[in-house]
Symmetry: C2
Subunit: 134 residues, 2 copies
């Protein structure tokens, strides 16, 4: 079921400063910042060739990463996203296995325009797992 790693999401309190660190200090290739108001973040993609690193800064009042940054004011590793071929089949298998799907259990359209689900971090040893239909 579990396919390739689509991205690793890193929450940062200051996207401009994080862009400078990744571009100038680490020598990484970055996208321009993209505001995604419907997802409550501004994102910069770091292209590392085999996958993407996403630098996320909160956007708007109800950002899904605001609580994380309150607990981790410097920022930190927020979630990993794996690809699956069939998100409804994946969801059904996960629920049968006892894993908790966040929200109402139905896929939402994620930041890449594809259906996504998030799984409860307590079921995966403290790691927030996103699944995206490839």
């Amino acid at each position: 079921m579990l396919g390739r790693l689509n991205h690793v999401a890193l929450a940062v309190p200051d996207l401009a400063a994080a862009m400078a660190a990744y571009r100038d200090t680490l020598g990484a290739r970055l996208s321009a910042p993209q505001a995604l108001p419907e997802h409550g973040v501004t994102v910069v993609f770091v292209d590392v060739g085999n996958t993407k690193i996403e630098l996320l800064e909160p956007l708007g009042e109800a950002s899904p990463i605001a609580a994380f940054l309150e607990k981790n004011p410097s920022g930190g590793m927020h979630h990993v996203c794996y690809e699956v071929d069939d998100i409804l089949a994946a969801r059904d298998h996960l629920k049968q296995s006892g894993a908790r799907v966040l929200g109402d259990g139905n896929p939402k359209i994620g930041a890449h325009g594809k259906p996504v689900l998030f799984l409860h971090p307590k079921d995966f040893f403290g790691t927030l797992v996103e699944l995206e239909q490839a």
Copy 2:
């Protein structure tokens, strides 16, 4: 400078339970556990095709992930590892840029038998960054 994502390391308090969750619940392909006493961990590799997820359980008295698991008893995302072509050139560039290299600043031989460095998470917005010479 920054090359491909070599792995994402997830610290877990109970490797057998984590293996069951990744294999049975997420349907992932796992390696057998490998004890690496000189690195203070037992590791299981999760093959996701384009990169690796490493599940790390502490091994021995002075495990480098023990303090993390004291702060995060359920486990969590521990570090990301990027490949570089020349780790000494990378180290010199990082130091010139003001980034802090952990330890004495010299590469050590990492868990894959290659030279590695760790960078201070405060310089990268709460994310512990490992660099490995490819």
